[in-house]
Amino acid sequence: MTHDLIVIGAGPAGMSAATTGAALGLKTVLLDEQPRPGGQIYRDVTTADPRLAALLGPDYMRGAALAQALHRCGADVRHDTLVWDVAPDLTVTGLRDGRSFQLRAPQIVAATGAMERASPIPGWTLPGVMSAGAAQIALKCAGAVPAGRIVLAGAGPLLLLVACQLLAAGATVAAVVETAPAGRRLAALRHLPSALAAWPYLAKGMRMLRTVRAAGMPRFKQASALRVVGRLHAEALEFSADGRTQRVEADTVLLHHGVVPNTQLSRLLRLDHVWDDSQLAWHVVTDAHGQTSLPGLRMAGDGIAITGARAAEASGSLAALGAARALGRLDAAAFAARTAPLARALAVERRIRPFLDTLYRPPRDITAPADETIVCRCEEVSAGRVREMARLGCQGPNQTKFFSRCGMGPCQGRVCGGVVTQLLAAELGKPPGAVGAYRVRAPLKPVPMGALAAMADHPGEEHAQ
């Protein structure tokens, strides 16, 4: 064993886990692919220009405090490090600076976070079509905005948030197109009493709505049949709304239908997952301190299920406390005393989820796209082809690889996996949980052959490529 605790991912969950682990006296290492801590939500927070920070809002700057605490805690923090394999015996294989290395610890916290849900619509593969989150990353990392006309389309809190941030940055938002079907607000009202416990989020949502209304750009509701039009890049978004076909000219189309856990690592490890019908995503099965179906492997944050950045902090700390307890470094009384307030904080953060998940449930257009829509972007396999494969006897996503190369491209099923599962489920008349997900194998991302060759000669040491 090289360490007591290995933390993978430097977003809010990972930063909290590493900081808590180090504070408890665990020999802790944190590995992250990016050059600086923050994950996606707090990306580049440690180098944020003050004007940009003001534009992005106080929620973003919370990440700076987490990063500072991480910096001071004494954990071994290794950036620019790609974790490309984790074995069932908890050996972690990483690549940094062209050198491959292996670490091992009795406890791991994987805080691998979330990604945007795919928004497959005809034309979504054109240059100029990006996720709303990508536009936010451009702001955070480069203080940059799309240069021409922007259309935002979809359903979810990030849609309005990014619209507000782009407006504040002086970008040209030509329209906001909301795809939530009729009846969502009524359905969500049932969960409002629970959501009121997390009223600051509701207040923030109301403020964003006011900002967007005041900006006066066209807003369309209950839009359907979205398609991006263009030859070599996005030129316009067409859709049905208000009883007719609409067209908004745009150079950049930002799509958003919520975020989902990024399950590459959890699938690599064959952890138990369940399909959650309220979030329409896979959740990892864990106990209250992140322990998964693989002993010693804990998860924290949005990588388990979407609960947001604040919940991720509590979740990361709970996982580290669980790890310390499992290692015998914390007695039962101290463990109970320290976990109780965190568990309460996590419960409060979770109160808003049923309301948000119902209000922003993605429309069928997105979870069951039209036949002509490309769903596997890498190998250019359409929804219609996936449905045809189901009719030809394909029982699950892994078989689509044999039938068609669907899921075999460079993204290794990250983008298409959720949609393929749902398409097959609908066509086969089975629940998504029964249809399953793509099997993931190492390396998690492509690595040079030299990194593998050196590993074979000298297992367990740092190797040059």
Partner: protein
């Protein structure tokens, strides 16, 4: 396709060569963002149908921003940060393995 917002602190600039063309960008930025600000809309043509593709997620998930950096193919432009003198080639179609690399 992307432009910097006004009024932010000046950053040290570096020079890349993109398809042989000199491009000046702020030091330390993700290459994908630097290319987008330099007006590069299509980063590659797909192996299957030669369709133009550009970045979609900017966070290392979609693999649509693949470019060749300093001779290394299939690099996620959103995951690599610019350095002075970096050589960038856009990719048309699939890469071939090069045993001499």
């Amino acid at each position: 396709m992307f432009r910097p917002i006004e009024g932010l602190a000046a950053r040290r600039m570096v020079t890349l060569r993109v398809e042989g063309r000199a491009v000046v960008v702020p030091e330390g930025q993700a290459l994908a963002l630097a290319l987008l600000q330099a007006g590069v809309e299509s980063f590659r043509e797909t192996p299957v149908s030669a369709a133009p593709r550009g970045p979609m997620c900017l966070m290392g998930v979609c693999f649509d921003c693949l470019v060749q950096v300093d001779g290394r193919p299939n690099v996620q432009a959103c995951m690599v940060h610019v350095r002075d003198g970096m050589q960038v080639q856009l990719q048309r179609g699939a890469r071939r393995a090069d045993p001499t690399a």
